[in-house]
Structure formats: C-alpha cells, structure tokens
C-alpha cells in the first residue's frame, strides 16, 4: 500500500469530439477505445475517488459535453463536495445547459481556444467554431463562473501569445493557460510541423512573463515551456501515481492519460474493483518512488523534483519506458531531442495529420 493519495480525478468521459486538433492528447488508436462507461459507473467512480482522497474533479475527454448525463455526474461530485472543473471545447454548449450544470454544482469552466482568429482555429481543429467559443466564454462570465482560457501553443500560433493574453483579458478570464504542445500521440505524429524554433519560444516566454507581473491578482498567466527546450524534464503528472488518477472513457484506470500506450502493462479497470484497489495496483507501483530509476536519474539531486520526467515520452522516443526522459540534457539519448530542435530551425513540412485519421493536404 502506498502512502500517496490522489488529489485530482481526471475523468475522460468520452473520446468523441467535434474538433480534430492536430495535437490532440487522446490515443492515436481511438477506434480501439469506443466503449464508454455508463452513468452509474461514473457516479460510483466519483464517490470512490472522494473516499480515496480526491478533492478536485476534471471532467474532460474528448468533449465531455457530448455526454448527456454530465449533469448527473456533476451532481454526484457536488454531493461529495468536489471542486468540479469542466474542460471543454465549448462547441456543443448552450447557455441553458451551462446554467443547469452550474445548478448541479459545477465550480469552474476551462475553454480551449486554438487561435485568436477563425481561420487559425480551423487550420488546427479542422472546423471553424471560433465564434461559438467566444459566445460560450461570455455565458460563463455572465453566469458568474470562473473562466480559464487554454491555448495549446505550437509553431503556427506561438507568435500570437500576446493576442491570446489580450483576448483572455477581454473575455474576463481569471486564468490563461498558454501550454506548449506535449509531443505524444497526435502531436508526436505532427511534431515536425508543430515544434517551434528556440527564438519563437524565447519571444513568447518574455511576453508571458511581462503579462504575469502586470496582471498579478487579476488574471493568472501560466506559460508551459515545451520540455524539448527545458533542458530538464517536466514533473509529468507531478510524478507517476502521486497526485492524479485518470479514468479513460472505457474505464481503464491510469496514472496519466497516455499511459495505456506503454507496452507490457496490465492497467486495472474501474469496473473490476474499487478505485482504491486500482490506485494500489502493480501498474501504479511500477514507477512510484525512485527505485525504478536508471542512472543518471537515480543519483540525481532533482529526482524528487521532476520524478524522472515522462515515462510515455521516454518510451515513444527511445523504445524503453524505463529510460531517462530524453528531454533531460543529462539523458544519454538527448540527441533525439537535439535533432528535433535542429529541424525546427529549418522550414517545416506543409501538411498536418488530423485526428480521426483525416488527412488534409
């Protein structure tokens, strides 16, 4: 039994989504994961999560609003006094539905924007629903719910970071997350087109830093560096099986939303036993603590800061899930990341590979 207890349940209610973003963090083999848990299962999972120590619930997907039982799940969370965040594209939202969700106990809303213009949004998401998103953001504000604007950053929109901050300010958001793409799943397939140059990163970071100071106390400005440029890996999920527990649409219980892409794991299912049992399952123990770490991680004084980085990134870049995360400058395979950075200084390819296997020129 681990002493760790999760603070946040990430409930991936569905992988269905009206958007087809080229950096989507859902699995590339979406078709294998079509089955979805029913309402009763989600209500039970929420209750078991709270008993396990969870205080925050992130309702996400795919697009969680495509679940017609979302209100029932929010009510279950409210009965357990969870702080419920709706993480949404906002595309299917109506004002009436938002009011109903607020009535059910919803605490906060995070809306994704792909860009600051309709054309830019369409280039990333495959469809133009930019105006619908702005309308939804205004409903969030008029109902008095806290609003977070989230923008995933990449080569083609990073130079507009200032515009994203201004837009979030104009909408009245309390928080703007400017999160560089994490290169896994669809984003890894599109990395050559998405990875920005170092100069772009440094200019954007300076703009975000200035805004963070200027807006302190009014709007929180979060800028997440792509770990390809960080020299040290990020503390992925705050460490494997430490703070987060993820349940996928089909009930797979995971330490992070991409962990089922790792080979040789038999992750527990929320339908086969309690969430408590899943949390203590061998798959959750696998990368807990530091005993699993290879050198140079094992003796590194940062091993309890970054927890060894991202296991999925280690596997997808080196073929070995136990390897030091190649994002770390101390990794013996850091050359993989250096090579990708080198390519990012040159002209990128012309076409994206869109989620849901749709290929556009």
């Amino acid at each position: 039994m681990t002493a760790e207890r999760p603070y946040t349940l990430v409930a991936e209610l569905t992988y269905r989504c009206p958007l087809q973003c080229v950096y989507c963090s859902n699995p590339v083999d979406l078709e294998r994961h079509r089955h979805e848990l029913d309402t009763a299962a989600w209500v039970r999972i929420v209750e078991e999560a709270e008993a396990l120590g969870v205080v925050q619930l992130n309702l996400t997907g795919g697009e969680p609003l495509l679940r017609e039982d979302l209100e029932s799940i929010v009510e279950a969370a409210q009965r357990r006094e969870l702080y419920t965040n709706l993480i949404t594209s906002a595309v299917p939202l109506t004002r009436e539905r938002l009011a109903a969700l607020q009535q059910a106990g919803l605490a906060a809303v995070q809306i994704s924007l792909q860009d600051s213009t309709p054309a830019g949004s369409q280039a990333v998401a495959g469809v133009d629903r930019f105006d619908a998103k702005l309308a939804a953001a205004e409903w969030v504000m008029s109902l008095g719910l806290p609003l977070t604007i989230n923008v995933v950053l990449h080569r083609d929109n990073l130079d507009r970071v200032g515009e994203f901050i201004a837009l979030a300010e104009r909408l009245g958001a309390q928080r703007v997350e400017l999160a560089n793409t994490q290169y896994l799943g669809w984003a890894l397939a599109n990395r050559a087109k998405l990875l920005p140059s170092r100069g772009q990163i440094e200019r954007a970071r300076a703009i975000a830093d200035e805004a963070r100071v200027r807006l302190r106390g009014k709007m929180e400005v979060l800028f997440v560096l792509p770990d390809y440029y960080a020299d040290r890996p990020r503390a992925c999920m705050d460490g494997w099986g430490r703070r987060f527990i993820v349940v996928a649409p089909d009930g797979l219980v995971l330490p992070c939303h991409a962990a089922h892409t790792l080979p040789g794991f038999d992750f527990p299912r929320a339908i086969d036993g309690s969430l408590d049992r899943a949390w203590n399952h061998a798959a959750f123990e696998r990368f807990r603590g530091d005993a699993w770490m290879p050198e140079p991680c094992r003796s590194c004084d940062k091993r309890h800061v970054d927890f060894g980085g991202c296991r999925c990134q280690a596997f997808h870049l080196t073929g070995d899930a136990t390897a030091t995360d190649p994002a770390c400058a101390l990794s013996p395979r850091h050359d993989i990341v250096e090579c990708a950075r080198g390519e990012a200084e040159r002209e990128p390819p012309q076409s994206y590979r869109y989620r849901a296997l749709r290929v556009v020129r």
Binding site: R5, Y7, T8, A51, L52, G53, V55, Q56, N58, E81, Y83, N85, A107, A108, Q110, G144, L145, P146, T148, Q174, R175, R216, G217, K218, M219, E220
Partner: protein
Amino acid sequence: MIDVASVVRLAPKARLRFDRIRQQHMLLYPEKGLVLSATAVDVVTLLDESRAVAAIVEALVAKYGEGQRAAIARDVLELLRDLAERGLVTEVAP
C-alpha cells in the same frame, strides 16, 4: 494593496473544504488547492461575505486574546495579501 481599512471577500472561484481523508482544510480553486493552517481557516471562514480587514482582526483578537493583537494584525494582512496575489481574495469598495 490590502491594508487594515480595506474591505475584502473570498473570490467566487475559491471554495473552502475540509479534506476528511487527510484531516486538513483546503482552499480549492481551478486545478489547485492550498492547505490552510488553523488560523488561516479562521480568516478564510470570515471571508464568506464582505468584511473590513479591521473587523477580521477584531474577531480573531476576541478569539485568541488581546495579547495576540499585534501578531494577529500582521498575520492577517500577510495572508490576505498572499491570497489576493493568487486572485483568491478580492477587494470590494467600502
């Protein structure tokens, strides 16, 4: 900047919750949570409606004793300024 004359209240995004599993009070907001000390809980509980900082100090002096007044006044201001920087406390017009 918040001072004793300010009128403050908890921002709508912040919710105070007792974490029964870990036996601690937490101030929850989007994607985050702060673990509150016992005295911080006293202050945050009083932020459910608009109050003058001076009134919050008086309430705590009544609870902890006149001898603690200087320490309470200092701690309350420090806490409120910290929470305001995080957008968890808002100043309202007096």
